[in-house]
């Protein structure tokens, strides 16, 4: 087959395998990168080559792999640049001695154990073309690495960034990555050097390179950033200039004898870290790199990983030894250091587990080692398995050592019982301002405690997560929450923005509402993809699970909403609607009309729900009660809503044809026909007054 045809086919197969296994891993609570790494190994001789050698030979003939290799190398250059770009010195600020001692210990301990392991492995798995010092130093560096991007993703997903453990871990991981890459650059220089003169040349060249980057390139990059600020957007010329700098930096480090990847990484760390500039560059590079190029690297690595090389029990024991040393060195070293500097055993254990994540960064280092010939193919396989195992074990071990409920307990600590707390999840930026104004209207006598929440699904997530040091400027939420925050500033309402990556939006909104002690979850309405229902999709999830009142706003008229109608027949949800209407009624100039709909009596013995039994005791003077006898309550409400109201507040109950449902196709007549803004309220089941109502509310 023609080389290009083969390459295109290879890329297609790799992408399908990586996406499929990545999605599978996400589903079982593992980082996506685990699936992508596994896909690479599965496409290599260890599985596809073993199970279907004919297919493997057809798909990946040896002579065609050069194209895959070139693309994967370019992917690595871009990826290492992105990793450097994400490393922000602000992560280290204010972390104190805990981070300093822990980060250095978390490098030195595995480095020491890795080097010690080399004493045993060198005669068994290396050969005389590699000196012991190079082999031992490489093993030390390879054991020391932490997968900063995967770690940041795990911390963000588990909402750990705002805990002490998360803050120290991310700082340690940043230090670890920089140090491990500097160590590796040293090892590469040592391996490539041919005599003392060559070593000196490499050292001198490296010093000149660093000086040029810091003294000449960085100021130029600052000017580029200023240019970006003046234009307000990243121009193609500016982007090309950054790419050019990246290529030259990678070329320079390769030329002086350390690796091209170090140059890419170093340029990333040297870049000015103002968020807008960095974010735009990241966004332009990230998807191409993470979705397209990195799976090719995984595949190329997998093609070089022959698990069949470990074909004796003794070799499997060696592999276990490698894994044991890796875990003991990284986890044990980090945890002991963290404990010694004041963290509790549980926190120190969690830090150790997190720092043990190696992921993709380990594969990058191992590939360099294999290319240089410092490690043999069999040792490469053992180390790849170790990288995969340490990444897989992180999430379950973390859950065992530091369960989610403890994280939640630690991150609460902010509640002020007196304030009316509203959580506003925002999916569409345009819905933010109306939600903000509704939240403000619901607490007219004081400032509500407002949390604006944006959740992003993992497949749309950035390489790393939120910056723990800077809520408001959070990269994840800045775009989605921007209009809401702007409206809040204009209205003088303080808002706490929250943003993180979420696998289960409904579950995470519920958990956040619980964490923040929300009295109300206020959501906008967006038509679900798989449903015609207003109360379907994520809204359904939140209404079903949340232990707080939940309200969905269909903003058909802009604020202020002063003429308020509450259709009422009784029940927990209608009462919740009344409670909110009562709050809205406290606005200056607001009037609330309660439309009490009763069915016509069919006989003298039929009981009629009386509003006097159900309504809250005290409404303000601006409340008007209107009682109508109608068989069709919905029609009554729609008719009344057409007559001079700004907002209808209504319970999410069957009476009104507004029951939450996952895939409902029912025609929500009231929601469709109501000509004004609509606030649909579902009661907190824990606040329902009778067991029957509580059961009804929970069932809804």
């Amino acid at each position: 087959m023609h080389l290009l045809l083969t390459l295109l086919l290879q890329i297609a197969v790799v992408l399908v395998a990586a996406r499929a296994l990545g999605a599978l891993c996400r589903r079982i609570g593992q980082p996506q990168v685990v699936g992508e790494m596994a896909a690479g190994i599965a496409l290599g001789p260890s599985l596809l080559g073993w199970a279907a050698p004919g297919v493997s030979a057809l798909l990946f003939p040896a002579e065609s792999l050069i194209g895959l290799n070139v693309l994967s190398q370019i992917g690595l250059v871009l990826f290492m640049f992105l990793v450097g770009l994400e490393l922000d010195p602000r992560l280290l600020r204010g972390r104190g001695e805990t981070a300093l001692v822990t980060s250095h210990a978390s490098i030195v301990a595995p480095f020491f154990l890795g080097s010690a392991l080399a004493l045993y492995l060198y005669p068994r798995l290396s050969d005389a073309s590699v000196g012991f010092p190079e082999f031992a130093l490489f093993m030390g560096a390879a054991m020391s690495v932490t997968a900063f991007p995967v770690l940041a993703r795990i911390l963000t997903e588990r909402n750990l960034l705002r805990t002490k453990v998360g803050a120290v871990t991310i700082a340690c991981a940043a230090v670890d990555d920089v140090t491990a890459w500097c160590l590796l650059a040293g090892v590469v220089a040592l391996v490539r050097a041919e005599g003392a003169g060559s070593v000196l040349l490499t050292l001198g060249g490296s010093a000149v390179y660093v000086a040029v980057m810091v003294l000449a390139v960085r100021p130029v990059l600052r000017k580029l950033e200023a240019y970006y600020e003046s234009r307000g957007q990243l121009t193609q010329d500016a982007f090309a200039a950054v790419l050019l700098a990246l290529l030259l930096s990678a070329w320079a480090t390769e030329y002086v004898g350390i690796h091209a990847l170090f140059g890419a990484f170093f340029l990333g760390t040297t870049m000015p870290k103002e968020r807008g500039f960095v974010r735009e560059i990241s966004e332009r590079l990230e998807w191409l790199t993470v979705v397209f190029l990195l799976p090719l690297f995984f595949a190329y690595t997998g093609l070089r990983t022959q698990v069949g090389l470990i074909d004796e029990p003794a070799l499997w024991l060696d592999a276990l030894l490698v894994l044991g040393v890796a875990v003991a060195g990284k986890s044990g070293g980090s945890a002991l250091a963290a404990r010694a500097t004041g963290l509790s055993w549980r926190e120190a254990g969690a830090l150790g587990v997190l720092m043990n994540t190696r992921g993709l960064m380990e594969l990058v280092i191992l590939t360099i080692g294999l290319d240089l010939g410092v490690i043999s193919p069999a040792l490469f396989v053992m180390m790849v398995l170790m990288a995969l195992a340490t990444t897989v074990m992180t999430t379950p071990l973390l859950e065992a050592v530091y369960p989610t409920r403890l994280i939640r307990r630690e991150t609460v600590g902010e509640a002020d019982e007196a304030a009316f707390t509203v959580l506003v999840p925002v999916a569409l930026p345009s819905s933010g301002p109306a939600l903000l104004r509704m939240a403000k209207a619901l607490a007219p006598e004081g400032r509500p405690r407002l949390y604006a929440l944006h959740l992003q699904r993992p497949d749309g997530a950035r390489l790393t997560g939120a910056d723990p040091a800077d809520d408001a400027d959070d990269a994840l939420g800045a775009e989605a929450l921007g209009p809401l925050l702007a409206a809040a500033e204009a209205e003088g309402v303080p808002v706490r923005p929250l943003a993180f990556v979420s696998r289960d939006v409904g579950e995470d909104i519920t958990a956040t509402a619980h964490l923040k002690g929300a009295d109300l979850v206020l959501m906008g309405w967006h038509k679900p993809i798989l449903s015609q229902s207003v109360l379907g999709g994520a809204v359904y999830d939140v209404m079903r699970r949340t232990r707080a009142d939940v309200a969905v706003l269909l903003a058909r008229r802009p604020a202020p909403w002063r003429r308020i109608l509450v259709p009422y027949t009784g029940g927990a949800h209608d009462r919740a609607a009344l409670r909110l209407a009562e709050r809205l009624g406290r606005q200056p100039g607001a009037t609330v009309t309660i439309l009490h709909v009763v069915r016509p009596a069919r006989g003298p013995d039929e009981p009629r729900l009386g509003l006097s039994d159900e309504a809250p005791e005290a409404f303000g003077p601006a409340v008007r009660l209107k009682v109508v006898e109608r068989e069709d309550a919905i029609e009554a409400a729609v008719e009344e809503g057409r007559v001079g109201y700004d907002l209808v507040v209504i319970g999410a109950s069957e009476t009104w044809g507004l029951e939450p449902a996952l895939f409902s196709t029912r025609h929500e007549r009231l929601a469709q026909a109501c000509p004004v803004s609509l606030l649909i309220v579902r009661a907190d089941p824990s606040r329902a007054s009778t067991p029957v109502e509580a059961a009804h509310a929970a069932a809804a």
Binding site: A105, F111, S115, G140, V191, I375, A378
Partner: protein
């Protein structure tokens, strides 16, 4: 414990340990390196018994994989000797495969291999050969 002392214990001591390890490991010897591609220069052989022209070795310590084309065969490094466990399969030609028995010349990275190719599945006689590295020996070419 005071931070400086803590740092010394948790960071300084392991670093000293690494220096000790490097010193201790300087006396260790690894097996000779056969890894890489070798250009075979066989002695005379009869028609129909043409041996392969190139030999590739992927080495992991005392174990190796030897290829005479697309197929590979496990091999062992014993001292300065390299010997395949069975015959390395080849496509085309009269023989089904060749066993490789060789010894390295030069230490610790042999510059030449001297040995013989023992055919299997044909009536050919073993072919003595001398092989040189194809291309410059990269450090640690496994």
């Amino acid at each position: 414990m005071r931070p400086a002392l803590l740092y010394l214990v948790l960071v300084g001591l392991p670093l000293l340990g690494v220096l000790g390890i490097l010193r201790a490991g300087s006396g260790l010897a690894a097996p000779p390196s056969f890894g890489g591609a070798w250009a075979l220069a066989p002695a005379s052989y009869p028609d129909g018994c043409t041996p392969p022209a190139e030999l590739r070795v992927a080495q992991s310590g005392r174990r190796a994989e030897v290829a005479l084309g697309a197929e590979t065969e496990a091999a062992e490094v014993d001292g300065r000797r390299l010997r395949t466990r069975g015959a390395v399969a080849v496509r085309g030609g009269a023989c089904r495969g060749w066993r490789v028995e060789a010894a390295g010349e030069g230490a610790p990275v042999p510059a030449a291999l001297v040995g013989r190719l023992v055919p299997e599945g044909c009536a050919c006689a073993p072919v003595p050969f001398r092989a040189r590295r194809a291309g410059a020996p990269a450090p640690g070419t496994h």
